[in-house]
């Protein structure tokens, strides 16, 4: 995961539940998996990923190589799950209206900005916490746990507030 990246935008609407996201957005566009390229980003409206907590939906996006999901709002479980899978999930007010499908955006997780590369306009979002960045950098929660807890000498930062070490 990069903290700073560019990607081509695919747009989706409001209230898309995880059942319809399953299979790389198959419930909304059955052909989407043939169009999307690794590094592309999804931009959606409100309540993205609402509904079931089944992880096949967010995993299908990660496995398709989606670089980030930006939406007006994202369901809580879905947001944490995407981050725990190593995929930035960003709630950003105004994101669904300031960019068109096919345009390129540039995202900076640390400063919390997303910029439309076509017209230069930008939107801001609350920057990611250090803990979320650490998990994303490790490629998700499981790789994070495996490497951080492997052995006390393996460099697990004792001051890291996310987990208490054994």
């Amino acid at each position: 995961m990069k903290k700073h990246f560019k990607g081509k935008v695919w747009k989706f609407g409001d209230c898309i539940d995880s059942g319809n996201i399953k299979g790389v957005m198959a419930g909304v566009d059955p052909e989407f998996h043939t169009k999307v390229q690794p590094g592309d980003v999804i931009v959606a409206g409100i309540n993205f990923g609402m509904g079931s907590s089944a992880e096949d939906a967010p995993r299908s996006l990660r496995n398709a190589g989606i670089a980030a999901v930006l939406a007006e709002s994202i369901s809580n479980i879905y947001l944490r799950t995407l981050i725990n899978l190593g995929l930035p999930a960003i709630e950003c007010v105004g994101v669904s209206t300031f960019v068109d499908e096919g345009q390129e955006i540039e995202v900076d997780l640390e400063s919390g900005t997303v910029r439309n590369l076509k017209d230069g306009t930008s939107r801001t979002f609350p920057p990611f916490s250090d803990q979320a960045i650490v998990i994303l950098e490790k490629g998700g929660l499981i790789p994070y746990l495996k490497s951080s807890f492997a052995s006390p000498s393996a460099g697990h930062d004792k001051n890291l507030p996310l987990w208490r070490s054994e």
């Binding site: 609402m50 907590s53 809580n76 725990n84 979320a132 746990l145």
Partner: protein, 427 residues
């Protein structure tokens, strides 16, 4: 400045004196619920246990963090797919090897109700569940929220979870609750008022003078729906009714936590229940609620009382009261799926099952059932006591699902169309 009940429980779980909304915390979990399906290979080719074993190996440990705090339930019995069956086998293997509590057979039902009825939910606790409707438990004054597959592995390995402390919306219930208004009506009205985006990643905290008159069953239904407004959790105060209920299911050791008088809320909403009309959500999203008169006359093909949202004993009693001595409309399949075997046996004891039988209701075993399994043909319309009316939720994108209270479902089943249940309630 005081704290809300959610902030207090989060602070305690994170080992801090106080937390504020927006704080990222590392919380110690008191209880972890896992449904059987999470153990299947649907989400990861290695399955939950396979991934967990790998993590244990790499972390150099041999056991789950605290198996006594892990509760597993079989949500579908008997399993209807080899995938589910395989998940149930792995769940058993996990529980045997690690010592987790597992409910199946006559002990079980729908996991969320089993959790509550078997006394695993206590006021003041920090509970997570590997299912989105784990927010149901907030009815008993605890913090409870749903988590995903990967997070579940994390909790099993470390007993901890990261999350952002949510800001709270205070929802005041005022006035007098009419006897024909239940939790489902109230929560559908609240969700409609808040709008589809009203509570995303927030806490819904219920309070006000009318709360005392809302049954625990209705509170469970209201908290169950919290995830449908995309709230992180919902919570009721630990009042006499809640404490009484918790003691009745066999719990004595718990420390109730209440919000401070000067706790800070992001916003406040007030709902007067006096003269309230029953509510129904139109197909699409659960926040499509409207007073029942708006949809009266809509023809239905199926009426369903089931799911973790509304099929507890209170719901079965109301339905039986309406159905007694009458027969379901010939054009309607009415299906009743009790929330747990506890509710099932209680209903039998009270003679409710016989009433359903005589009314030509299809009674099923206690399980999640048709909440997600296909039961609707193209173009069919269902009124359901469940929690989700998304396109395709019951297996067919071209079927339409309305949500309403069990009273509305039962009365509509008799009429063959959506009706105002008040006209069908015996005096």
């Amino acid at each position: 400045m005081g704290m809300t009940i959610t902030e207090k429980i989060c602070a305690r779980a994170a080992g801090k004196d106080r937390v504020r909304p927006g704080d990222m915390i590392d919380a110690e979990v008191d209880k972890l619920y896992i449904k059987d399906l999470r153990f299947s290979k649907a989400e990861d080719p290695k399955g939950l246990y396979g991934v967990f074993k790998e993590v244990l190996k790499d972390m150099g440990i041999t056991k789950a963090w605290d198996p006594e705090k892990v509760i597993i339930n079989f949500d579908e019995q008997p399993a209807r797919s080899t995938r589910r069956l395989e998940g149930q086998e792995r769940a058993k293997e996990f529980s045997n090897e690690h010592g987790a509590t597992l409910y199946e057979g006559y002990q079980g039902g729908i996991g969320h109700n089993v959790m509550v009825e078997k006394g695993h939910v206590r006021p003041g606790e920090f509970i997570v569940g590997a299912d989105s409707h784990s927010c149901t438990y907030g009815a008993l004054s605890c913090f409870a929220t749903g988590i995903g597959f990967t997070e579940t592995v994390g909790v099993l390995a470390t007993g901890r979870i990261w999350l952002k402390v949510p800001p709270a919306i205070y929802v005041e219930l005022a006035g007098r609750r009419p006897p024909w208004i239940w939790g489902k009506d109230i929560v559908l009205r609240i969700m409609a008022e808040m709008g589809a985006n009203g509570a995303v990643n927030k806490t819904l905290e219920y309070g006000g003078s009318a709360v005392a008159d809302v049954s625990v069953e209705s509170r469970l239904s209201m908290c169950n729906m919290a995830v449908e407004s995309l709230a992180l959790n919902a919570v009721f105060p630990p009042d006499e009714r809640a404490i009484e209920y918790v003691k009745q299911v066999g719990n004595t050791a718990f420390t109730p936590v209440a919000s401070d008088a000067d706790a800070e809320y992001e916003s406040r909403l007030r709902f007067d229940l006096t003269d309230m009309e029953p509510f129904v959500a139109a197909p699409g999203v659960p926040s499509n609620g409207q007073p029942v008169h708006e949809v009266i006359g809509t023809k239905i093909n199926q009426a369903f009382i089931g799911t973790c949202s509304n099929s507890r004993i209170e719901d079965l009693r109301v339905a039986a009261k309406i159905l007694k001595g009458k027969t379901v409309h010939p054009g309607v399949r009415m299906i009743v799926t009790p929330a747990s075997y506890g509710a099932y046996f209680q209903a039998r004891e009270e003679g409710l099952l016989q009433i359903f039988e005589k009314s030509k209701v299809l009674l099923t075993a206690s399980e999640c059932g048709i909440c997600t399994r296909p039961s609707l043909a193209t173009g069919e319309v269902c009124i359901s006591s469940g929690n989700r009316n998304f396109p395709g939720r019951m297996g067919n994108r071209d079927a339409r699902i309305f949500l309403g209270s069990p009273a509305t479902v039962a009365a509509s089943a008799l009429a063959g169309e959506i009706v105002d249940p008040r006209e069908f309630l015996p005096a």
